[in-house]
Amino acid sequence: MTELKLPSIDYAALAPILIMLGAALLGVLIEAFVPRKQRRLAQLSLGLLAVLAALVMVIVNSGDRLITAGGAIAVDGPTLFLQGAILVLAAMALLLIGERSVERGGAFVAQAAVTAESADDRRQAEGSNGATEVYPLTSFAIGGMLIFVAANDLLTMFIALEVFSLPLYLLCALARRRRLLSQEAAMKYFLLGAYASAFFLFGVALVYGFTSGIPGRSAGVDFATIHAAVTESPASEVLLFGGVALLAIGLLFKAAAAPFHVWTPDVYQGAPTPVTGFMAACTKVAAFGALLRVFHVAFSGAAWDFTPVLGAVAVLTMLVGAVLAVTQTDIKRLLAYSSIANAGYLLVGVLAPSKDGLSGTMFYLVAYGFSVLAAFAVVTLVRDADGEATHLSRWAGLGRRSPFFAAIFTFILLAFAGIPLTSGFMSKFAIFAPALDAGQAWLVVAGVLTSMVLAFPYLRVVVMMWLSEPGESTPTVTVPGGLTSAALTIGVLATLVLGVVPGPLLDLANGAAEFVR
């Protein structure tokens, strides 16, 4: 037996991850031992505190550029920037998840296993109990995402993928209203997610095979080995490109890129709205963080070969998202397609092989995350007796009934459309400019054209809110509680500030835009 050598572990560098996972475990204990009445407060404060502490650790670590835990985790500029982004956005999402004054008992049902639409289910929907398991589940998901963007080998990445995906599947099933839709969404998400994970895992296997046979190096799936193998491996390149393709499919599924986006509208619509916001903001950051790392660190030697294929995927994604958004009649589905189109824009940034492209993509992720969380926060507020009124016809005339919230939502939609003085404009600029510099004009042209198409559904909602007469069925906007107000304020302010003075965040992203290998 060979001697087992423990890898050295830099616990400080891993602290954000450890804090989130530790908080999640503690949350499970709280579920078990703290009386029901105090549970929500305890869980919510624990979650927020943990996010805050993790964020502090990210800031403390901000100078780190190292690889630790036996080469499994890389803590470098992009890792820290994206972890920070995930934590800030997760804090906003936690505020939305914790809100209980908008709906009695919150947006989550206490017993998800009760048969949907049964008498028990209706009683439970009316009751004031709500699930508090959502907090540890969210913490697990956040922890998984933190690992995902830091993973320095494909296996760690796969495990992180599962760690943050499984809680999300569960969270999707917990909506208080429209239980059937919620359960269906969770089921679809789970099945398709598992399916996509299989692709990813098979890709890992192919890549592993490709790395074997380099003289003086053992086979492995850590990024340094893969990087070396791309140029040196004697193995057939079919293994490499087959592997890259399958890996990309697994990641593009999470990023909601076409044609792997099919789950997105159904899941976004069925999931409880705070969870939808969490997925739209944080999952996007995590998925693109991983995509950036895989393509910039591991496979950068093959960039010439994968760029046309991924470029085609990007164009298809933008087209599908923009064109399908045009005919949507449900606000959550509309935002889902908008999120798909945005995945296309982000891919343009991923494919720009420069530091500017990397920092632009990271800026985009943050800016988009703030806006989309604010958008879903408004969605949680427009409601009637049956819960959220998400059908667009119900939003007609909202500007007359609740001018303040209609104005906020208008502002967010203008940001999505990329109007100057909003973060949407700056982030599109930050992504398209490096792509143009890299000679990928075709991607930029496609991006601009689809942005124009996409402006139509956004403006349609604006026109509907302001220029239509309010009908009998126009719901009112519920006055938000403190938590939702806080999240909404942060989101709207960030959308404005990043549009007017984007300098500091761009500088931060620029300073962080370098991977360690």
Partner: protein, 648 residues
């Protein structure tokens, strides 16, 4: 840019130090007050007007302080750079202020007369619901005007220029419920746009040829430009000036601007907006002095406008409109002055300041009359008011005597030299412009006397509902009295020992060394002008001493033409409005059929595609999984194709 030999009179500005470092407060205070009034809304209704008055008062006191500070300095042009306003590539615009003798007198006029008008408006607008809003706009107006005269480059000037345009629009259509007021506001705005476009293009040319818009750099660089460039640049600036100052051909908006409350008329016509054009030309004197054709155009515009104003003014029956046309005509005199160039620049400024006093005085007097007469404005319906409104009568009399140029009131000292200067040219144009200025003096005396006599003397011709016209309250009469004192004394004081002219020498240059003599002797011109003045006034007195019919009478060709503004509105309509409407209709047609057709077609295609694609989103996991599988096969195939070299 550095010419090998810098001209001896190169323009240099000192940088501001000490107290003068806070010149920006002049603009900031009224602006802050306007912001407070607009933001607080109804909460400031009770005290808002006093804040408005106080902010202008504070600016006036500061202006006086700065003025005395400036007197003690060696280089009397002080520049204060606040921050980079615009910095794009080579294009740099300073957010900077310039406080020099010219700016200083404008600041004193704007804040001094402006303060009195503000004070007056407190009472005048007392019963108006929108008084706070009114004062907010009023403050905004003064702030914009101060920015206009204090900027140290053309972009700053343009900034203030547009601010004045905006504020005037808001104020003229203040009673927006009245269609006539709303229309007048729009008319003022649109006609100003024409002039503003000229100014903007002029600024573009400056940047294109000189690479800068800073005053000192532009003025020092004028020598390196071709004569044609200077001419075009000057004409564009002149177009801007005619728009703001209501000169031919853009004069039509000014009389309509009387739809606003009377204090607005006083502020626009006496202290602020209309003087902007004169300021622009006086400020740009190195440009205008560099091209004699340009100067000839300016004088011609001035002379033509002063006659147009007089003739139309003589035929109008609305007290405010007569005063408005009189303003058009008096600004014409100032344009003659700035167009003549040399020493006449300063004369124009003297007339501008003197005019600021007596015209504000008379506008506020007219407001006081209207206040006592149930807002009646028709002078045919006044008469015999002297007995009932003693203070208004006496103060108005001072304004009247001043404007027609009776010595020793201020108009005599300010207008007379311009007439003399108009005669001081080398060729036959001396007779043309001198004659026009002289004729204008006679006509001015005629129509102002008509106005004065019909309003205050002769038999009463009041409408039935008025029994006892009352004098206005103290808050309105005190500003009147102060302005009347100004109307009497200002001209003499400024002309004393060429005081103002020598004060302005650093900016406008001096006449020294120029040996020109008028074509007639100085004494002859003075006697002639006094003769036509007394003649005009006497004729009017004779004709109107017994009052006039209360309805307009049929009249000859000239009077009818004058009543219809010499058909200038008709010309505008035929030349601009009709073709404009036609063009708009043609464009709408093109837009509907051509552009919209294309756009709608594309939109329909997208919508149809969207509808079809949507059917793929069936909701069944099995079909989703299939499409993911298909996508996966495609992606893998594409990667392998790339690897095999089939693509890329």
């Amino acid at each position: 840019m550095n010419a090998p030999a810098e001209p001896a009179g190169a323009v240099t500005y000192a940088s501001a130090s000490g107290l003068l470092g806070s010149v920006w407060l002049l603009v900031a205070i009224p602006l802050a007050s306007a912001a407070i009034l607009l933001l607080l809304g109804r909460r400031s209704d009770r005290w808002g007007h006093w804040l408005g008055v106080a902010s202008i008062g504070a600016s006036f006191v500061l202006g006086l302080t700065y003025f005395f500070q400036l007197r003690g300095l060696e280089n009397k042009s002080v520049e204060l750079s606040l921050w980079d306003f615009i910095a794009v590539g080579d294009f740099k615009v300073d957010f900077g202020l310039l406080f020099d003798p010219l700016a200083a007198v404008f600041v004193l006029l704007i804040t001094g007369v402006g303060f009195l008008i503000h004070l007056y408006a407190v009472e005048y607008m007392a019963h108006d619901e929108g008084r706070r809003r009114f004062f907010a706009y009023f403050n905004l107006f003064v702030a914009a005007m101060l920015l206009l005269v204090l900027g140290n480059n053309y972009v700053m000037l343009y900034f203030g220029w547009e601010g004045v345009g905006l504020a005037s629009y808001l104020l003229i259509s203040f009673w927006y419920g009245r269609p006539s007021a709303a229309t007048a506001g729009k008319k003022a705005f649109l006609m100003n746009r024409v002039g503003d476009a000229g100014l903007a293009i002029g600024i573009f040319i400056m940047f294109a040829t000189l690479g800068t818009t800073q005053y000192d750099e532009v003025f020092n660089g004028v020598g390196s430009l071709t004569a044609t460039t200077v001419l075009v640049l000057g004409l564009l600036l002149l177009l801007g000036a005619t728009g703001k100052s209501g000169q031919f051909p853009l004069q039509a908006w000014l009389p309509d601007a009387m739809e606003g409350p009377t204090p607005v008329s006083a502020l626009i016509h006496a202290a602020t907006m209309v003087t902007a054009g004169v300021y622009l030309i006086a400020r740009s004197n190195p440009i205008f002095s560099a091209n004699s054709t340009l100067q000839l155009v300016v004088v011609s515009v001035g002379a033509l406008t002063l006659l147009i104003g007089c003739i139309i003014g003589a035929a109008k029956d609305d007290i405010k409109r007569v005063l408005a046309w009189s303003t058009v005509s008096q600004i014409g005199y100032m344009f003659v002055g700035v167009g003549l160039g040399g020493g006449a620049y300063a004369l124009a400024i003297v007339h501008l300041l003197a005019h600021g006093f007596f015209k504000a005085n008379m506008f506020l007097g007219a407001g006081s009359v209207m206040h006592g007469m149930h807002d009646q404005v028709d002078i045919r319906r006044f008469g015999g008011l002297a007995k009932h409104m003693r203070i208004t009568w006496i103060t108005f009399m001072m304004g009247w005597l001043a404007i027609i140029g009776i010595p020793p009131l201020s108009g005599y000292f300010s207008k007379e030299p311009i007439i003399v200067a108009a005669f001081t040219r080398d060729d036959w144009t001396a007779w043309l412009f001198g004659g026009a200025a002289l004729l204008g003096a006679g006509l001015t005396a005629f129509y102002m006397t008509r106005l004065f006599v019909l309003t205050f003397h002769g038999p009463k011709r009041w409408t039935e509902d008025i029994e006892h016209p009352h004098e206005s309250p103290k808050l309105m009469t005190i500003p009147l009295v102060l302005l009347a004192v100004g109307s009497v004394l200002a001209g003499g004081l400024m002309a004393w020992n060429d005081g103002l002219a020598s004060w302005l020498t650093p900016v406008l240059g001096s006449e020294a060394g120029e040996a020109h003599h008028p074509v007639l002797s100085h004494t002859v011109i003075t006697i002639l002008s006094l003769l036509v003045t007394v003649g005009g006034a006497g004729l009017a007195w004779f004709l109107f001493r017994t009052g006039t019919a209360t309805e307009p009478q049929p009249a000859g060709v000239l009077v009818t033409a004058a009543r219809r503004n010499l058909y200038t509105d008709a010309v505008n309509e035929a030349v601009f409005e009709k073709p404009g409407i036609f063009l708009t209709r043609a464009l709408v047609f093109l837009d509907n059929r051509g552009v919209d057709g294309l756009v709608n077609g594309l939109a329909a295609a997208v919508g149809g595609g969207s509808g079809r694609l949507r059917r793929l989103q069936t909701g069944f996991v099995r079909s989703y999984a299939t499409s993911i599988l298909a996508g996966a096969l495609l992606v893998v195939a594409a990667f392998l194709a790339v690897q095999a070299g089939w693509l890329a």
